[in-house]
Symmetry: C2
Subunit: 337 residues, 2 copies
């Protein structure tokens, strides 16, 4: 066998032989230092150091059944929204001594399922951000290994979600206070759970405030999706004094397309997004949007996975994170007809 050929590493045996002790003593020196004589331990560690020895995680995983690895799956790495989740997850993982595996599902449910299957046996748990998979698939995935959802809920699974009830209410209140009597929701992917929650919340809030709500879409949650959405919104006519977009990427596309068509924002139409990505504050007009705590969501999700490694949850919890409307220049008074 040509295992790694040129890349050879010393094993616990080499250290044991060189240090004149048993392999178990070497092992203990690393994993249970208190159960080994101070002198012996120091000697062993010294020899290990000199030989450049480090424990082989695969062997450890095989024995203990734990890989100290968590996988995070996101629909699109380059969407800055997910960068926040990734950052939070990475930090939490690192500080817990876990290794973070990253997968980009490319908004593609079957790719997501494939990754779940492939990574499953290799990791101690999953964090699925904005999963596009049906509930049944998620439950199945969670059978052998802990799964925590971010901005998605499914029966029997833990999740960390943004408070869209409050968030959508904030948006509608904002629009109502500016004199809007109706708005159009430019929807994202049909499979998006958070998209459904956003629309449901907007609708309910609209009803409470007497605003007429309409939905167009689905569109891709990207800039190019927004270009198409803007045209549809313009065609929708008079109702569309305010456009609430599935997310900021889409909203940015809308803004661009409206500008290209000579529609003024916010004078002719107000635009509101979801996520508050980095770019939203910098474009002009700057984008009014609902900020979510992405890093905290990522962090909490990883922490929750860790908790469930130890013990399967009796009844799964939904952790709700507050949202905050950031009012900027893309929203203004309703135009007088």
């Amino acid at each position: 066998m040509s295992r790694r050929e040129r890349w050879v590493r010393p094993t616990i045996k080499d250290v044991a032989r060189e240090a004149g002790v048993a392999t178990s003593t070497v092992s203990r020196s690393f994993t249970r230092p208190e159960r080994v004589n101070k002198g012996t331990r120091e000697h062993v560690l010294l020899v290990a150091e000199r030989l450049g020895y480090a424990p082989n995680p695969a062997a450890r995983a095989l024995e203990t059944g734990r890989s100290h690895t968590v996988a995070l799956l996101v629909p699109d790495i380059t969407n800055p929204y997910f960068s926040g989740v990734i950052k939070g997850a990475e930090r939490a993982a690192h500080s817990a001594g876990l290794t973070l595996v990253l997968g980009d599902t490319q908004e593609n449910p079957s790719l997501e399922a494939q990754m779940l299957g492939r990574l499953g046996p290799a990791v101690d748990g999953f964090v699925l951000s904005a999963s596009r998979l049906p509930d049944a698939d998620l439950e199945a995935a969670a059978r052998p290994v802990p799964v925590v959802l971010v901005n998605r809920a499914a029966p029997g699974l833990e999740s960390v979600v943004s408070d869209f009830d409050s968030g959508t209410q904030q948006i509608v209140d904002h629009l109502a206070s500016l004199g809007h009597r109706s708005f159009v929701f430019l929807g994202g992917p049909a499979e998006s759970w958070s998209g459904a929650r956003r629309w449901a919340g907007l609708r309910a809030a609209g009803r409470r405030r007497g605003l007429k709500a309409r939905r167009l879409g689905p569109y891709l949650p990207t800039v190019s999706g927004g270009l198409a959405a803007a045209d549809a919104a313009v065609a929708a006519g008079a109702d569309a004094t305010a456009l609430v977009c599935h997310n900021d990427m889409l909203a940015i596309g809308v803004l661009r397309r409206l500008a290209a068509r000579g529609v003024r924002v916010p004078e002719d139409v107000s635009v509101v997004g979801f996520d508050d990505i980095f770019t939203s504050a910098l474009i002009s007009p700057s984008l009014t949007t609902l900020a979510e705590r992405t890093e905290e969501a990522g962090r909490r999700a990883v922490e929750t996975v860790r908790r469930h490694e130890l013990q399967r949850p009796a009844d799964p919890m939904v952790q709700v994170l507050p949202t905050e409307l950031r009012i900027r220049d893309s929203s203004g008074p309703a135009p007088v007809p």
Copy 2:
């Protein structure tokens, strides 16, 4: 031992027993399907499917010495520049059947070193993007395992870098053609190899075109770093008709600070960045910047790691990726004195 308790997975033995064959046959059905009778194989695969069996990668890694895992370390996940590298690396890894481990070094060399040590035995190779580590540390890291650098070079190591010689020449030509007689470089982290290359290139190109070049910094390669840099640039006075920034994040900070101070861009001063991140085209004024092929860099780096798993390179190569100046609204004619 309480291995995984509630989270049990079927093993190769379960499948073997259930299918009435030896474990080696099950193993072969997965790894060398052609060496097993078609009928047997199909039966085994069916049973495996029914039992929900998937090979345990840790056990596989232990036997073969290969974890089928590549680690990617970046200084800051949330910097959109690195999102491109991550995306490219993730795709390449996935399509090669590799698992991608992600680490955020937070621009911190000692954290980077720590991750290198911790992950080292667990992965088949490293991609280090914009590493801040000294050459010696990199060479040491590359002893037991393949290491490929992105936008960084070190003796004896493979790397994928952007063509900064051409890129800086393009920038200087652009400025010279607009009548600028001098420019100021707002530098990033002192440890940044690409920062050094950018400055060296700008300087040399400036000399060739007769432009006076000056450098300020170091500043953080972030928006807040740019705020500070802008003030320094203003204080620098008449030379500073053009500001070339370490990267786009810094440039965006510069733009914001200049706007806040009432300095007009590009009428009073031109601003140029490096990277062409997503936001740069959307802010106003839109940012003139040098575009790099980040996804391709990530992809190539992973492919190079794979190649070196098989065979250590005789003499390491530097792969140079073309750069392209994207001229936008932040650069214009030099002000008449």
